[in-house]
Amino acid sequence: MSIFDYFRSAKKDTASIAKERLQIIVAHERNQRNKPDYLPKLQQELLEVIRKYVDVDQDQVEVQLDNNGNCSVLELNITLPERA
């Protein structure tokens, strides 16, 4: 191996970068794809109801729909603010 090869191998080849980027975006889009269309609206409305009682931010409410075979689970995760 020459000194030039050493420098070359230090830099990641572009095909590996492409693969990594694709794996991330494809996983993300597959996740989005399986969600029903009403999910964002459901999240928004839930947030409004919760806000009536507790002061929470948009990103503190997480709505997740998981499919386990023939049964779907709607998971609602709310991070309540710490008590003052």
Partner: protein, 271 residues
């Protein structure tokens, strides 16, 4: 029972029509009565790839609308026995394709004794592409080893498994990947996604790898589907893919850099 195969990709320019022409020719060459339908309404191109552009009288939309019957619209291929082309309409709006209309034509073709119906999808995920894939039993997803094409292919795979008729019935559309414009030298240099990378990302079984080849353009220049060029690696790779499609075990070729012979190496070294 006719087998309906859609050739699709999402992204344009990856080789759907080239593939449709080659695969349909290859299947017919092996003795199966085959029809290839151009679903790209308004941008018909299968006819020019298969050198029958001057023989188009009636088209797919004419048949759907009852302005012509199938026999009048089907163009018999001049090279291969058992092969027919149903061209797309060049003037109509793509909305002329309806689920009922397309289904009626497919049923009629099956009743006519066609064993394989190849649907050449337009690019995109609009109505025409949806119509091409809706009735498919098998999807050939054509992709280039390049980020936008692979991403679009994944999108198409998702649509196939959720919006097609088989998906609606709770069944799966069989799917396979055809990687085209593959350049093993660039893969070896780390400049191009390799076949295993793409397979891994899309999690789809590999139908074949078509090496990037000058013969593809030469073939389309002349209107001869590249599978007829039995000398060229691209033609041979398509032929292999047809074999696999028909259930044969064919080893994959053209995926790695060809080993240079001793003489070539000696020559290179002395040069």
């Amino acid at each position: 029972m006719a087998k309906i195969i859609v050739v699709t990709s999402g992204k344009g320019g990856v080789g759907k029509t080239t593939t449709s022409a080659a695969i349909s020719s290859g299947i017919a060459m092996r003795g199966h009565k085959t029809v290839v339908i151009d679903f790209d309404i308004g941008l018909r191109n299968l006819d020019i790839i298969m050198n029958c552009e001057r023989r188009v009288v009636y088209d797919f939309v004419n048949v759907i609308n009852g302005e012509a019957n199938l026999r009048q619209a089907l163009i018999k291929d001049k090279r291969v026995e058992n092969l027919y082309i149903l061209p797309a309409s060049q003037t109509r709006d793509k909305d002329a394709l309806t689920v009922d209309g397309v289904e009626r034509i497919l049923n009629e073709l099956a009743a006519d004794g066609f064993e394989y119906i190849i649907c050449d999808s337009p690019a995109g995920i609009e109505h025409g592409a949806f119509m091409a894939m809706y009735f498919a039993d098998l999807a050939i997803v054509v992709a280039n080893p390049e980020v936008s094409s692979v991403r679009d292919s994944d999108r198409i795979l998702g649509i196939l498994q959720s919006k097609s008729r088989r998906a609606e019935k709770g069944e799966r559309v069989e799917e396979c990947l055809l990687l085209t414009r593959y350049n093993p030298e660039r893969v070896a240099k780390g400049e191009m996604l390799g076949v295993t990378d793409v397979e891994e990302i899309l999690a789809t079984k590999l139908l074949g790898v078509i090496p990037e080849s000058e013969t593809v353009l030469k073939a389309s220049n002349q209107g001869i589907p590249v599978i007829h060029d039995t000398e060229s690696p691209a033609g041979q790779a398509y032929s292999d893919a047809v074999g696999r499609l028909l259930g044969e075990e064919v080893e994959h070729r053209f995926m790695s850099v060809e080993q240079k012979g001793l003489f070539q190496r000696l020559f290179r070294r002395s040069a």
